[in-house]
Amino acid sequence: MVDTIATSTWAVETCGLTKRYPLAWKRKVLVALDHLDLQIRPGEVFGLLGPNGSGKSTTLKMLLGLVIPNEGEARIFGLPPDSLDARRRVGFLPENPYFYSFLNGDETLRFYGKLCGVAGAALEKRVEDLIDLVGLQNGRERPLRSYSKGMLQRIGLAQALIHDPDLLFLDEPTAGVDPLGSAQIRDLILRLKKMGKTVVFSSHLLEQVQEVADRVAIFSLGKKVLEGSLDSLLAESRETQVQIPGELDSPRQEQVLRLLGEAGIDPAGVRFSRPRLSLEQLYLRTIQTQPGPSARDSQPRP
């Protein structure tokens, strides 16, 4: 199945990918992932959704070449995931800070950069750029063990990007991050998309997934249950929304209803409502107008 497709078509492709773990004390087998077929196009933002234990992490680990599948195959840009060439094009942000806590920010980036084959002046420049990008000037000299959760996420993003990969795997990128940081990460994902990079991320925060993803897959108990673009999945095909600037008082509401009735629409099914800001939008609006301690920690981008 995989061989018939041109290698340049898909960023990520799996075919029948399966992983089983033996449970020693129960004499049973845990099927962590059950015959996953997945295709992700280059340049897409793809969300992996599902409860804990549904197979999202296992999928990510197999796509990174960390875990060997029992059955099936995976390809990253047409290459096997455990090949060096594939991993050169992939960046990974783990869900927890799996970094060396005795290194400081600069050293961490340099260490991973060297492992990716970036060196010398190019490495120094990238380190500077990334520190700026994620806003870690304050913490770069301090060891990682002194970092807050938000700072750890940021250094995580920086090391994932150190070698300018084409494909990014982000495992719960905004878990435990404050809304301002979350928004920045979301902006970053969108910016990466604009640069033509592919982003695959898993998250529990459905609102956030909704904001950035092009397509999503929903996992449950090791199986991929649903897959598709957000537009097609979420759109309620049976209704249409119309947004009108300004308030509409009762008499004019009646006018609209009459107009709709003439267009053949049953006025009984029509609802007028006040659109609501999302809480996030209110929060961000409020925070950004108040200079406060959190704003100093992370530099908001204009």
Partner: protein, 265 residues
Amino acid sequence: MTGLPLRLRLHRAFLIALILGLWAPAKIVWELRIAHAQDRLRYQGVTLTRQLRDQLGQGLTIGVLSGMRSVVADFVWLEVTVAWENEEWFRMGGLINLCTALQPRSITFWDMGGWQLAWNASVAATKDLSLPNQLRREKASRFWIERGLAIYKRGIENNPENWRLWADTGSLYEQRLGDYRTAAYYFGEAAKRPNCPTFYERFPAIMYGYGDDDRASYEAWKALWERLTPAQRAEPRHESDRIEQEIKRLEQKLSIPKEKRVFPN
């Protein structure tokens, strides 16, 4: 199927078998070569016999097994000094045997062990008032001298190229047994060993002199003189003046005919 696919498992097993299969015979051959080389170096390891294990106890046995033989032997040697201070001669003798068994190639233990037995223990025996009469004390003294001698001789067996033990044995024969002939032999052997102090080369002749064997003494002096090259005779350490003096004196005393003399004048 869980875990690794069978294909990979077989691949892994094959690689391990290949590596071990290539290495195991090479390893044995190499080890035998090393053992052979060590035999030639007269390297005496220690075989941990049951008796040795019992004497050492568990902690020290592990010490030996960890390759800290010399430290273990040093610890045991401290006990020798304690036993000496407490005049526990038999215990001391046993500990000396233990030390020398642990480190047969360390001269210190043989050298000092023999001294402790043939001098210290033996002299103490002559003053041991628990024995009824002088004869018994002499016998006891002799017993310890014999034990000291045994130590020296075993030491020489294990370290034939070390001059010190030969010299010690010579001293034992000279000082403790009054046997100048045998002492002369041992001093002569010592002088042949590398790094021996030069003056030992004169001891055989001197020993024969002590034993009032002028003829043997003369022969020894003469042999020494003839062995020395002219360059060596110029060196002060060989004391060629003294050798010459002794030869002349003995030639006079023994009335050697002029033609056969080394120094006819």
